[in-house]
Symmetry: C2
């Protein structure tokens, strides 16, 4: 299974990369730096897990990839990429390296990095609101839930809680709050939007959203574990930056063994939610297992 899912992910990743190459607007000369910076970060590699999850979820209900689904998949990667650019800024994590390359503000300067992030976030919603031959109600519903998951009650809220200086909080509660939002929210949004766009029933959308929430939470726990166990070559970023910034991490708060156990439990629970889909759910199950296999 291990190799097989990795091969499939690699194949899907290449397809998504092609889409992403096509989704950026044609540059204007007088504002060229923003286009260069958008392209630099968006096309920098990355696992493309969010678009792949969205497409794989959609395939539970219908074959093929509509232009609408492709726009949403690209939009999700634009949101993810903007969040990385802004997270890396000197006033946030102050990281010099991302995906093995200098971070955006190192290459383009802080002002252009901030604006490139803003432009990618805006582009995401531009892509997702393009006219499509489909059900506009569902298009708006998917766009709206992505906006909720990406905003102050989702990803941005998680980032705020992560950088907030608060000694008096319950650390276990805090780390759960952070991880469910900071990483979990966009992964959940990807799965949920895939289901909504593919015409799933409300009940199916809810179950799959729950699946996405669980694997998203597990993904961040595993990310912490990888940083904790440490291997900057594998991750392509500095593994000491969380410690340097005295951020909470799941193994830091809960201990390594408990972090491993919880991430495995989350994945088991998530996979059990796919029961109704039988063989059609194999790809999503494979991705879910891959999320924890990275560290087991």
């Amino acid at each position: 299974m291990g190799m097989k899912i990795r091969d499939r992910l690699e194949r899907e990743r290449r397809v998504v990369n092609d889409w992403l190459g096509d989704c950026l607007p044609e540059p204007e000369e007088l504002s060229r730096p923003v286009f260069d910076a958008m392209s630099y970060s968006l096309l920098a590699g990355g696992k493309r897990l969010r678009p792949i999850l969205m497409v794989s979820t959609s395939r539970l209900f219908r074959d093929g990839v509509s232009p609408l689904l492709r726009n949403f998949a690209c939009g999700m990667e634009c949101i993810h990429t903007y969040s990385l650019i802004h997270d890396d800024l000197p006033s946030m994590d102050d990281d010099d390296l991302r995906r093995g390359r200098p971070t955006s503000h190192k290459v383009f300067g802080e002002a252009i990095a901030i604006l490139a992030g803003d432009a990618l976030l805006t582009l995401a919603f531009e892509l997702m609101s393009r006219p499509a031959l489909g059900d506009e109600k569902r298009q708006l519903k998917a766009l709206n839930s992505i906006a909720v998951y990406a905003g102050s009650l989702g990803m941005v809220g998680g980032q705020i809680a992560d950088i907030r200086e608060a000694q008096d909080d319950d650390m276990a509660e805090s780390i759960r709050f952070i991880h469910k939002r900071k990483t979990g929210a966009l992964i959940r949004a990807s799965v949920e939007a895939g289901a909504v766009l593919a015409g799933a029933s409300d009940e199916e959308c809810e179950t799959l959203s729950e699946f996405g929430g669980k694997i998203g939470f597990a993904f961040q726990i595993v990310d912490d574990l990888l940083e904790h166990l440490g291997d900057s070559d594998v991750l392509g970023k500095n593994t000491d930056s969380d410690a340097r910034n005295q951020r909470l991490t799941y193994p830091g708060v809960m201990g390594v063994e408990r972090a491993k156990d919880e991430s495995r439990d989350l994945i088991c629970d998530a996979i059990s939610l796919l029961e109704p889909y039988g063989k059609d759910g194999e790809m999503l199950k494979g991705i879910a297992r891959y999320f924890v296999e990275r560290v087991s």
Copy 2:
């Protein structure tokens, strides 16, 4: 006319302020700083011209303000506010004062200011994509054009061109490029979206979009003139920051008299586009005149 339009604008401004007070999400305790920072900037005052323009345009075609229109009006002000927060950052204009109060990063620090901007931009699209009893195709169309005007081909592109160091450009071309995008784009978007949402024909939407583009361009020329002639008490911000940052300004490039003439011509052209609406167009005409009266 002068007083009358000011009174009407003041009345509309209060209505918009009430809407804005209601559009922010309920804060979560562990991420409270982002909600405080969003509210600090969004409810800081301001002329609310973009929401008022949107609503006034809609009234050319239908009475009243639907919940959908209200959400779009608030969304537009969220986008405007995010752009001000990010523009004021140390790596951009490095301004300490905005609307007579300390800027966001002065109060909350740079990281939270950046994230509050991100959250307001995201909230804008969340508001505009909420389910409404209306024409979803038009809702998506309005949302999409706002995203285009706010992004790399619009407002963000204008900001990039403004901060870019390029000595070899045609300065007259550059300043037009910048002003049409940096300020003009959102004002144009407000008018256009108001028309789209109110059910205007394609032709009407296009004419009104042109009206919005002209008054938006004029607005920024007048803003430059006010800064050039200088009065920090009236503007509630430091008037020397453009000069300090060696930004291009319209009177700086074109001269004061030509800047005044061009802004007046733009407003005349814009007003002539409202001819077909007769008396119904009085409010928009009044706003257009107010845009240049500020400096005449």
